[in-house]
Assembly symmetry: C2
Homo-oligomer: 225 residues x 2
């Protein structure tokens, strides 16, 4: 027969576990925005195959139809508007489970708008690459550079005077790619004007891309697909 | 030799034309939001083929990866977050040019948030269908119902107390489908709870869909693909 004390002792860990679990679920629901969880729950339903080419990214990836642009049905769009590189890590499981053929990474500009510096962006991106290599060693990884933005078109307050962070991050990301033995895809020179800003004709809000810019990006990727 | 008056007479229409053209370009740039034009300029670069199945819609269409959900590479996502049915009409050209095999239409909830009534939604949707039939007579058209929303999850001020407009619009849209001889796809009953709201587990913002809801939608569409 259990004493009250014994029952209490057995119950306390269960209560603590429940509190922790509820806490974790709550944290899970609020770490990112609602769109992140809608896309992530969709991606959980969409199996990745070993013949797939995954485009892992933020709004720049999300906004295009990559399988159409590159005429390749194996390309899977895993972009989420607003996502940061840690967000990619947190949704890596359903991608790595499928052991895709290739993963193209594009990310970091939302980290900049969250006041993250170039060093930290390079660090979290390297962590992402290491996790992909560990989880799916045969996946070929392509690290794409950050793109310039253009605050003359529309002011993104959170990016104000942070053009230099993009340039610093790209220098560090290229080193990460070399160190990790992954392919560096430098899109920055294709998108930048003489003043270090995103070309005016490639954007209508200073940050996101018009169709014409996606064609330029696509042409750059053709040789890697 | 031309007199000054003759020159003036010849110039005036040119000036008027220029003013009109600039006016049209300006109107074109401001009628919808920046994302609309980014997606529309992308779609202009992506040819539609006669084997294609076009998903024409708003954020509900935009947010999913339909070719993955339905395992069909002919499906082309032509969804734009925030778009209204007139917006679909204004970007119909590059779709009809390709004479697609099928077009699935989903739209109207943003019209409701713009204070448009059920009659007007049915009218503009019928106009859209008539234009598709005229521009591409062999395209098979599927008109999908509006989905319920749920203002208990998060208040969408512009949709407040407008649940009845969805229900009214669906009654009218079903009649439009019958009158135009297109297939009516009634998704509403799959998504609604006992109180006439979008099922709580299908959304995290009361309007947009979680992965699980897309699977339900997908299962409904399978027989039409």
């Amino acid at each position: 027969m259990m004493t009250v004390t014994t029952v209490m002792k057995r119950l306390i860990p269960a209560v603590v576990m429940t509190v922790l679990a509820v806490g974790a679920a709550w944290a899970q629901d609020t770490k990112y925005d609602a769109y992140y969880y809608r896309r992530a729950t969709l991606f959980d339903k969409l199996p990745i195959k070993s013949s797939d080419i995954v485009f892992l990214g933020n709004s720049l990836t999300d906004g295009a139809e990559w399988n159409e642009l590159l005429d390749n049905r194996h390309i899977k769009n895993r972009g989420i508007v607003g996502d940061i590189v840690q967000g990619y890590i947190d949704r890596l499981d359903p991608i790595l489970r499928g052991k895709p053929k290739k993963i193209f990474i594009m990310g970091g500009v939302n980290d900049i708008s969250h006041d993250v510096d170039a060093d930290s962006i390079a660090r979290v991106t390297e962590k992402l690459i290491v996790m992909i290599k560990q989880g799916s060693p045969r996946t070929k990884i392509y690290l794409q550079s950050l793109l310039p933005f253009n605050n003359d078109v529309r002011m993104w307050k959170l990016l104000k005077n942070r053009e230099y962070v993009v340039r610093e991050a790209n220098v560090l990301l290229e080193k990460v790619a070399a160190r990790q033995g992954v392919t560096w895809v430098n899109l920055y020179p294709l998108m930048v004007d003489g003043d270090g800003k995103l070309k005016r004709e490639y954007t209508n809000d200073g940050l996101h891309l018009m169709g014409e810019a996606y064609v330029v990006w696509r042409d750059m990727l053709k040789k890697y697909i």
